[in-house]
């Protein structure tokens, strides 16, 4: 039974220069109890579609065509007052960022109750009872106490549960979840998605799940709508989209997602180029400029959406059939890493941040243990992946190695560098020649007032090792190596797309020809197709220059794809280190296992099988870490000894170490036997 029906929806934004049609002729039907995924890259109109249904568009946006039928009414024509009785009552929205979507000065209970009082005319006491009821529904721990708490007292995962509770308070028929777990860690993401799934079944709600994450789509949706540049390009049940897709964009999008069970060292398929500028008139198929199958017909006329039977529809003149033949190009040129030649040795590294009091006279004496006794090494030509959830100290390690933070105790030594006896400035410059940082946010890491050429040149100017002419040459060469046109040197960062900026960042970090690049979440701000471009580029540069990387990431699939060895961190501790293949196929630490279980895989079958053994609960505070093993509060195998005695790092097989009293048995799988 169709409950919500979108017909030919067209939403445009009035910009100063021109109107941007963000959603152009989108039709979607959603049945009760169904979970429909809308997937696509940023700017494809998926969020705008969600906001159009709710009529919550920003001031300059408006639904300029089409109908949205819900409950026999066209939402697009309702008055604002009528619309208000729909919002939050029969259609509810879960916004993306739980940190900013709650009112910080209102108690949780009152915030949840608010909608119930408005729509149901309930008394305060009834609404409070209802709030408690929905908090229980979202499996909030200690719901009675939460009612009187303020948002800042809750973690991100718990806040997202509150957001879901708020959306559910009036038992809506349709729930629009816009990237509900993007801001959360994988273990928490799995918990939240499980809750959403359970509630959908229990309440027979229709859920529209808007996300860029193919793994989430594969594991949670019944049907998928793929959007590109404001249009629906393909629509089918989830399994068909993943196994028998017809549109080249769907195919390319799926092929560019790094998969957790991929073989390390392969190449990802990337989609060349950028999505079109929607403020300009587009002739022909919108994907044609980036499509490998495009013909002249695609460039001159636009394909209409056609029905392929069984609810499968697509818009393409030259449909493909099924996923791209991923020839697993294991890079044969990938050099063997010499284990006896450590480039960087980190031993017993400790970093503690004091917690400041409210003013200078009040020292709290407390400290956050961000990195606690971490030891590892990085070899020449190797990529060392550092993974873990937010707050595990992986970024701090990167900053310590680059010298952006002072170490509390321990030692970081770099082969062939002796900085003893140098002045502070000279030491910093000497260190910078060996190790460079690639930053996470391509928007914040480039000075907006400097030309790209000057940005790349800056490290050379600081080091003063080259003549002016050589610097110019080096900048040109670097731009070329990272795949940017030479003209880019004269442009300002705001003229570049996110992926292009990240290339500039990579060029800058390579300017001094360092031996080691510390890449802190280098692709987490990018769309998958662009992400694949950057990851491939990083691998190529490693081959060509013999670079070593420390890849810091929360995304296990990205790390698996590019790293030789992996270190898993939990709450400031390194819990497992080993060859990438082994860590992924036969993890020995319970945390690693749980982390792997939590990652939704971007294929339908795999993602639904691997649901067992989720990590429960929340991350403890690093200001007061658990005694003994820090993971014991969430570990399924924890016993008394874990609380009393801290597990030591022990070598369990060649080059594979783990810090656990009860390490998992190595599962003999075909892959590890290879």
């Amino acid at each position: 039974m169709t409950i919500l029906s979108i017909k030919n929806l067209r939403t445009s934004f009035a910009m100063r220069a021109a109107d941007v049609v963000a959603v152009d002729g989108v039709s979607i039907d959603i049945a009760a109890g169904e979970c429909v995924g809308i997937v696509g890259e940023s700017g494809c109109g998926k969020t705008t579609t969600g906001l159009s249904i709710m009529r919550l568009l920003p001031k300059n946006g408006q639904v300029s065509g089409g109908q949205i039928f819900f409950d026999g009414k066209d939402l697009a024509t309702l008055s604002e007052k009528e619309m208000r009785s729909v919002r939050g009552n029969s259609i509810a929205l879960i916004p993306q960022d739980p940190m900013t979507s709650l009112n910080p000065v209102m108690r949780i209970g009152d915030q949840i109750a608010e909608g119930y009082i408005i729509h149901r005319g309930a008394s305060k006491e009834e609404a409070r009872q209802r709030a408690l009821e929905v908090l229980r529904m979202v499996e909030m721990p200690m719901p009675e106490e939460r009612l009187n708490q303020f948002p800042h007292e809750l973690s991100g995962g718990l806040r997202q549960r509150v957001m879901i509770a708020m959306a559910l308070v009036c038992e809506p028929k349709v729930l629009i979840a816009d990237e509900p777990t993007t801001a959360l860690d994988v273990t928490i993401q799995a918990q939240i998605l499980d809750i959403l799934d359970g509630l959908r079944e229990k309440l027979n709600m229709a859920v529209i799940l808007i996300t860029h994450d193919m793994g989430v789509i594969a594991s949670r949706t019944d049907r998928v709508v793929v959007m590109y540049a404001g249009k629906v390009v393909e629509e089918a049940d989830t399994k068909t989209v993943f196994t028998r897709m017809n549109h080249p964009y769907t195919q390319a999008l799926l092929a560019s997602v790094p998969k957790i069970d991929n073989i390390t060292g392969g190449r990802l398929l990337s989609i060349p180029g950028l999505p079109p500028d929607l403020s300009k008139t587009i002739v022909g198929c919108r994907f044609a400029p980036r499509c490998t199958y495009a013909t002249d017909q695609c460039r001159t006329s636009e394909p209409a959406i056609q029905d392929a039977g069984q609810g499968h529809a697509f818009a393409c003149f030259n449909p493909t059939n099924g996923p791209a033949a991923v020839d697993v190009q294991i890079n044969t040129a990938r050099k063997a890493i010499d284990a006896t030649k450590p480039l960087l040795t980190v031993s017993n590294l400790v970093k503690e941040f004091p917690i400041r009091g409210a003013n200078i006279f009040r020292r709290t004496g407390l400290k956050v243990s961000a990195v606690a006794d971490v030891t590892f090494e990085v070899r020449e030509g190797e990529t060392f992946g550092l993974v873990g959830e937010s707050g595990c100290g992986k970024t701090t390690i990167g900053r310590l190695i680059t010298g952006l933070e002072e170490i509390t105790s321990g030692d970081i030594s770099f082969a062939g560098t002796n900085v003893d006896g140098l002045s502070k400035g000279a030491r910093r410059r000497a260190l910078a020649r060996n190790r460079q940082m690639m930053f996470q946010d391509p928007y914040a890491s480039l000075d907006p007032r400097k030309r790209v050429g000057d940005i790349i040149r800056e490290p050379l100017e600081i080091q003063k090792t080259l003549s002016r002419k050589d610097m110019d040459e080096r900048v040109d060469q670097l731009l070329h190596e990272v795949g940017l046109p030479l003209a880019a040197a004269e442009r300002y960062p705001h003229e570049f797309s996110g992926g292009q900026r990240q290339r500039v960042g990579l060029a800058r970090s390579l300017a001094l020809e360092p031996k080691l690049v510390i890449a802190d979440e280098p692709v987490s701000a990018l769309d998958v197709s662009i992400q694949a471009q950057i990851l491939n580029l990083m691998q190529d540069l490693q081959e060509a220059r013999g670079l070593s990387y420390i890849l810091i990431s929360h995304d296990l699939a990205v790390v698996r794809y590019i790293a030789h060895r992996i270190g898993v961190m939990y709450l400031g501790k390194l819990v497992e280190v080993g060859p990438a293949e082994e860590v992924f196929s036969a993890p020995r630490h319970h945390y690693t296992q749980g982390l792997l279980n939590a990652v939704p895989s971007a294929d339908v079958e795999g993602s639904r099988e691997r649901r067992g053994g989720q990590i429960q609960g929340e991350l403890p505070s690093a200001a007061n870490p658990p005694s003994g093993c820090r993971f014991r509060t969430r570990c399924p195998a924890a016993t008394d000894i874990c609380a009393n005695e801290e597990p030591k790092m022990q070598e369990i097989s060649n080059g594979h170490t783990v810090a656990c009293h009860f390490p998992l048995e190595a599962a003999v799988t075909i892959r590890s036997a290879q």
């Binding site: 180029g273 952006l404 910078a432 800056e458 190596e481 990272v482 491939n536 190529d540 081959e543």
Partner: protein, 324 residues
């Protein structure tokens, strides 16, 4: 998309040094085409200029400010009047507008039209120099405080809090009665009492910019604080600085005029608009309206104009960020 060097030649050169990486280099070459085009957009200043021009009130204000500056500094070359010789002017005191004296004369018999220019010169000069001093001190103090942070920042900012808690005019009067009121002293006093608000604003910017990744990046490549402050933080505060300086200019001219009105302006034989208003208002009761209205009008519209320009600049910079 064009490439700077002959690709094949470059590849050979690299291969000479590192054989066996042909595949990797070819892949690199493919990647070179994969980044997509860079969208050329308007230059930053062009965009800002267009935004400024689209604000009609601000453009009118700017025209007025330029006109006043020309009137004061170029006017005297075309309109000659006696502004210094009191023994000659004493014969035509308090005359209403008439032939020879288009705006009448003041209590000492000086021609009002010429007097407006003469007083305007010192008002504008002093206002401008004082604004520069307050801007330099305020930016330096604020950026330093914000960048250094910690207890030094707390200390420096508490001083600013204390100074801001004292009414500005009171501070001015107190310092002037202590140190006297020559032209140089007035500039210094106006400049050194006007920067507290600017410092606070710039401190906030410096803190935000200091923690931005691009400043961190400079640190990671071995650069020091000097480079971060001069090359990265200061250029990124230009928008704030320009807005602040416009308001500072208006503020110091207004402060100087207030002092003049209270009889503490520039001492004779020179004068300023505030002093003109003060003496004019004494004669207002005997009907000498021409001694008050022109100078008040000129001055008021000037201050309002500065504020409109400042508002437009603030919008202009903010819009640039929004349209990114």
């Amino acid at each position: 998309m064009t490439f700077p060097t002959d690709w094949e030649a470059e590849k050979m050169a690299v291969l000479d040094n590192q054989p066996g990486h042909e595949a990797a280099l070819d892949a690199l070459h493919q990647a070179a085409n994969a980044a997509g085009d860079v969208h050329g957009t308007e230059r930053m200043w062009q965009q800002m200029l267009r935004l400024f021009v689209s604000n009609k009130l601000a453009v009118a204000s700017l025209v007025y400010v330029i006109a006043v500056v020309l009137f004061c500094f170029v006017g005297p070359f075309f309109y000659h009047s006696n502004q210094t010789d009191a023994s000659a002017s004493i014969f035509h005191v308090n005359l209403p507008p008439q032939k020879g004296f288009p705006l009448g004369t003041d209590y000492m018999g000086f021609d009002i039209l010429g007097r407006l220019m003469f007083a305007g010169q010192s008002s504008l000069e002093l206002g401008f120099l004082a604004a520069i001093i307050s801007l330099v001190v305020g930016v330096g103090y604020g950026v330093f405080s914000g960048y250094v942070g910690g207890w030094i920042d707390s200390l420096l900012m508490r001083f600013v809090d204390v100074m801001l808690s004292i009414p500005g005019l009171f501070l001015l009067l107190a310092t002037i009665s202590l140190f006297g009121r020559s032209k140089v002293l007035l500039i210094l006093v106006l400049g050194l009492t006007g920067w507290f608000g600017d410092a606070r604003l710039l401190r906030g910017e410096a803190i935000a910019l200091r923690d931005r990744e691009f400043a961190q990046a400079v640190r990671a490549m071995g650069g020091g604080s000097g480079r971060i402050i001069w090359r990265h933080i200061l250029p990124n505060t230009v928008s704030t600085m320009m807005t602040v300086s416009t308001f500072a200019l208006a503020g110091s001219i207004l402060a100087l005029t207030s002092l003049g009105f209270l009889g503490l302006g520039i001492p004779l034989p020179e004068t300023d608009w505030g002093t003109m208003i003060q003496f004019g208002s004494d004669n207002f009761q005997i009907g000498c309206w021409w001694q008050v209205y022109p100078v008040c009008g000129l001055f008021l519209v000037l201050i309002i104009s500065f504020n409109y320009i400042g508002d437009a600049m603030r919008d202009m910079f903010e819009v640039r960020l929004r349209e990114r």
